[in-house]
Symmetry: C2
Subunit: 191 residues, 2 copies
Amino acid sequence: MDPTLLLAHIRKHVKLDLPEQQLLASSLVEKSVKRKEFVLKQEESCKHIYFVNSGLLRAFHLSPQGKDSTIMFATKEWWITDMYCFVNRLPAMVNIQAVQDCELLSLSKDHLDKVFSEIPRFERYFRILMENAYSREQLRMIQNLSNTAKERYNTFLNKYPDISAHVTQKQIASYLGITPEFLSAIRAEKD
Amino acid sequence: MDPTLLLAHIRKHVKLDLPEQQLLASSLVEKSVKRKEFVLKQEESCKHIYFVNSGLLRAFHLSPQGKDSTIMFATKEWWITDMYCFVNRLPAMVNIQAVQDCELLSLSKDHLDKVFSEIPRFERYFRILMENAYSREQLRMIQNLSNTAKERYNTFLNKYPDISAHVTQKQIASYLGITPEFLSAIRAEKD
């Protein structure tokens, strides 16, 4: 179990002492997933949150009509789960699938609550993470409501070069809320 | 300064002792705003977060082309700010305007940081708030990407009856990311 990357990420925001680092590390479970493997499926109970040591994952919702909507991607140093269902202990609304082979650190809801109680500075780290995640979604909402699809595509390419290099155009289109055909038209125009 | 409603809201999540309640109350400033008045304008620095004691506010982004996009509404017991700009001390990307006369409690970034340091249980309350806010935005993103405009309109009416009764159809349309004409067509179909 290698928490080096996570501890470095935490260190950007708060300082944990050695016993706190050890307690946190003892709550984590290493998980290797192969490309195309799922760590969460819609309707399943969502009991874990994952920190990405390496690789790339995609969270997507499948509507009853079969429409695939990309909710988020997560690459190295990101946390990912179905937050609404994880927090409220509800069946998952999204699937989380590996786009590339991944090395993850898994933390259960019960362990996370225990870590919050025992390490207030970890709760601070998580409060900051949640502020950033909320801010990111609010920013995405502003862009979705006020920018053109072409602007949003260019923003995505600039903001997430590591992600856009490894996912399909269809997945990017479904993240941007447009059809793959429309994205093709935008890209043809761009070139 | 009446923090009763805020303290009751906090009590749903964490328990503050009397000195903590007093410290928090001493960090808050009461603010009355009249209908149509702004508490934040785009490009201004965003230094405060507001708790709504009564009334209704709307946060919206105006694009350079003049397109008005509703980012969120906030009614009694909600917190509102431009979170991305508040957290990162950047110029605001949204306007926040009173839809009805409001009584607010205002908390500055400096005071909030001080309260986090001195009252870890308030930081827990805020961590939970941020998880809920992030979850809500993620849920909204799932709905925006996978549901039809009609489904989203009906969800909005059911979820926020207090808000929908007091805002214009144009404002609801801009929250849903559709034109007012399209919303009219949906409503005509509905009746």
